[in-house]
Assembly symmetry: C2
Homo-oligomer: 191 residues x 2
């Protein structure tokens, strides 16, 4: 049995689906989860994309919204298409990076995703994020050390083959997309 | 209950996975299948892609080969990474277009996919395709009417929101990717 690394980006719709489900499913499988916030922007930029593939490729974007609707309904998860997409998840990712290993991290992550994809709130907003964590953690999030760590995490994601979110790593074995969560957990359990 | 339209491209790895499974799964679900060959090239070109995303984006490509290996193993399907990718599926798609509604079409489609992704054969080869169909059907494939029909099919795919392969349509409801086959069949059954 090995740990499952859950790599996610706060702007990503399919990361929302995975973030809401990973803890319960991993517990049922007896697999520990390592939460790994990272930024897709720099990885997309190196592929020559100036934004989200869902805005760059309109047909893909239209499909994604419909797919999200169907999947959330099937999973019993609330979902509202946000009025702005993709939102800037940088500060939220910095808080999650600073909070590495904290017991409250998974619940903070879910709250940010719900703010974005259920309550249509601006997850770049300092006040919202302070309410979801604390002023103290905001200060840690903005420390140079945290900024560096998130930058390094994003480089690590790229080095390890990640090109989209959510992604799951079990050792070197990469699984891409919310659709692969069950398969990744089975891999972790059997490794 | 409605029919499932199965839109596929002979060069596409994930279309191989779907093509090998769709007939049995649809039969079990009591859903009729309409086989719809089309060409991804013109659709990708309109998105500004000069080739397959799996060659344009190397990290995505490396992942896809590993993902295919795992998925084929899990489904009990043979798979060998072809020495050339993507292969040119134009002539095969023309034969499949000419053979619309023929009883032997599904088996022909599977044979072409196996030639590409199991036996590492060049599916653009006239002789191979004659052996998998017949000289008579090759002649029909190359008739102007068939060429026009395939061109029209590809435009239809785009009009109906298709941006990748395989895709499944149940009326206007679009499902993208081999991963959505079960969901698409459930939709067809319940419609």
């Amino acid at each position: 049995m090995r740990a499952l690394e859950f790599w996610f980006e706060f702007a990503s719709t399919y990361s929302y689906l995975a973030a809401m489900r990973v803890e319960d499913l991993a517990r049922a499988a007896g697999v520990p989860v390592v939460w790994r916030p990272f930024l897709l922007g720099p990885i997309f930029a190196k592929q020559g994309w100036t934004g989200s593939p869902f805005t760059l490729y309109p047909a893909k974007g239209r499909y994604m919204w419909r797919d999200m609707e169907r999947l959330c309904k099937a999973e019993g998860l609330p979902f509202r298409r946000p009025s702005e997409f993709p939102r800037n998840g940088l500060l939220a990712a910095r808080i999650a990076t600073a909070a590495d290993g904290q017991e409250w991290l998974p619940e903070f992550v879910r709250r940010v995703f719900r703010a974005n994809f259920v309550d249509d709130q601006d997850i770049a907003d300092r006040q919202l994020l302070a309410a979801l964590s604390s002023e103290e953690w905001l200060a840690r999030a903005e420390a140079a050390e945290t900024k560096d760590r998130l930058r390094e995490r994003t480089l690590e994601a790229e080095r390890r083959g990640i090109f989209g979110a959510p992604s799951f790593l079990v050792g070197d074995e990469l699984f891409w997309g919310n659709d692969r969560l069950a398969q990744a957990l089975a891999w972790a359990r059997e490794s």
